[in-house]
């Protein structure tokens, strides 16, 4: 654990010394504040639109931070050749990988807290209540969803040679899962075999990232999820991330470093 924590501390230090996070936070703040300052269509429910847009920006920003941070970790180590002095220390490749994962996940978690704090302040300013339970649940689910995304991006960084191609592929895959993946089984019902079987199988194979999206509940002030489904989703995230990390470790341990 000592080695994993040491590697993760470097990843976190990198994140707060780079400007990506600050730029995304400032952009989200600016866009939300500008939208909040105009009273479109004299709609009294404008605060819901504002919350919806702010949450969408938070989701996009968090995915950008998580994917770009994790996708560059190992390729950057190889490109700058720091992987050699690092692995010449008494540390295994699996520990390096887990350290990278933990660092990216914790860094994304800190970024999420900042984003959701801003969101909380904005919605509290426009609405009288502050449903802390719902917000905490949303942040937690969002953070655990990012664990799966980070594990996928780390695996991708070991499979695809260039970080840029890995970034693009990860964004497409994650966006595809979030937008289409959750509806695949419904689409499959109206299809003939074998397409129906293939699509259904794909639905069950793809990580169910949609389970972690509780934006609607926040926007419409619905009550939080029950404890059972909430913890089931968290456990699902840990298991899925572990599967991708196991695959990444397998690839990394067989990768020739030259």
């Amino acid at each position: 654990m000592n080695n994993i924590l040491a590697v993760s501390s470097v990843v976190m230090r990198e994140m707060y010394r780079r400007k990506d996070f600050y730029v995304l936070l400032i952009l989200t703040v600016l866009i939300t504040l500008i939208l909040g300052s105009v009273n479109l269509f004299n709609d009294s429910n404008i605060v819901r639109y504002l919350k919806e847009i702010c949450l969408l920006l938070i989701w996009i920003s968090s995915l950008v931070i998580a994917i770009t941070t994790s996708a560059r970790q190992i390729p950057a180590e190889r490109e700058s050749r720091t992987i050699f002095p690092l692995l010449a220390k008494p540390v295994s490749r699996t520990e390096v990988l887990l350290g990278k994962f933990l660092g990216c996940w914790l860094a994304s978690g800190i970024a999420l807290v900042c984003f959701y704090l801003f969101f909380g302040i904005i919605s509290a300013a426009r609405e009288s209540g502050w449903p802390l339970g719902s917000y905490l649940q949303a942040v937690t689910l969002h953070w655990f969803m990012l664990a799966i995304v980070i594990a996928i991006a780390l695996l991708g960084s070991l499979v695809f040679a260039a970080p840029s191609s890995n970034n693009t592929i990860c964004f497409i895959v994650i966006a595809g899962i979030l937008l289409i993946g959750r509806h695949l089984h419904k689409v499959a019902v109206g299809m003939e075999q074998p397409s129906r079987g293939i699509l259904t199988l794909l639905y069950f194979l793809l990580p169910q990232l949609g389970w972690f999206d509780v934006r609607e509940r926040i926007t419409h002030n619905w009550p939080p999820l029950d404890v059972g489904p909430f913890f089931l989703a968290l456990a699902y995230a840990l298991v899925t991330a572990s599967v991708f990390l196991f695959a990444a470790s397998w690839v990394f341990n067989r990768k020739r470093l030259q």
């Binding site: 470097v10 990198e14 050749r81 002095p85 010449a88 008494p90």
Partner: protein, 258 residues
């Protein structure tokens, strides 16, 4: 004297990129050992198999056949790296870290107690003359300063064995002199050093024993004085003769042209 490095009948094959050939032999039947307190020069032209052999010693590459041990421990065991320091050729360390943070990170991987580590950082930064730059990010460093930061990271665990891959490559004369002085100081402290370099004058000055490998096989091994006496020419000429550039070497006294 105790044997620090033992390489026995080592063979390393890589998948070949050439059409019609499945494998490329990078190292073939290499056997050598390095004794405690020696500075061992590891020489050979580019592509001779020096870096591959070092990569085996560092556990980056698994040998196809044969074995290698460091302090009697198989190089595949990560504990073999506990008493080892490694300076790779042309590495750009984490540019967002300061040398102090870099050393603290690597020190944690060796589980050095905090108080001991802080003292060690002060000593090493003084040794490599980076104490004035200890709070500056590495991205602001010159090439010579980066190389000295690299040497500092190789020394953080007070290693008994140092593997230096072309430590003076790309440095200006002052940078070379500083690195050479540090190596000389380490030699005086009784460290064992495996040293790869194309600067044969430097090797002649520093090394106790040298070996010359060419096309993956050991061609010559002995003390610098032995080789010079046997071939009756300087080390550079010995090297050229061994790797097949006989025409570039002046004739031996006695009129025999080689």
């Amino acid at each position: 004297m105790a044997t620090v490095i033992n390489i026995s009948d080592l063979r390393v094959e890589y998948p070949s990129r050439e059409l019609g050939s499945k494998t490329k032999v990078a190292v073939d039947g290499l056997s050598l050992d390095v004794q405690q307190g020696q500075i061992f020069g590891f020489l050979g032209p580019n592509g001779a198999g020096k870096t591959t052999t070092m990569n085996v010693l560092l556990g980056f590459v698994e040998p196809t056949a044969g074995n290698a041990t460091i302090f009697g421990v198989s190089v595949t065991d990560k504990s073999a790296r506990q008493r080892l320091g490694y300076l790779p050729e042309l590495t750009y360390y984490y540019k967002f870290l300061t040398p102090e943070e870099l050393l603290r990170f690597y020190g944690k991987l060796f589980r050095i107690p905090k108080a001991v580590l802080e003292k060690r950082i002060d000593e090493i930064l003084a040794m490599v003359e980076l104490q004035d730059a200890r709070k500056r990010q590495i991205k602001t460093f010159s090439k010579g300063m980066q190389q000295r930061a690299g040497l500092a990271q190789a020394l953080i665990n007070d290693p008994d064995l140092l593997i230096l891959d072309e430590p003076t490559s790309g440095l200006d004369p002052i940078g070379r002199m500083k690195v050479r002085q540090i190596i000389q100081r380490l030699k005086n402290e009784g460290k064992t050093i495996l040293f790869s370099s194309h600067e044969l004058g430097e090797v002649e000055t520093i090394c106790d024993r040298v070996c010359i490998i060419h096309q993956g096989t050991l061609r010559e091994m002995g003390t610098v004085q032995d080789l010079v006496a046997r071939h009756q020419c300087n080390l550079e000429q010995v090297f050229l003769r061994v790797v097949g550039y006989e025409g570039a070497v002046p004739s031996r006294p006695g009129g025999v042209t080689v």
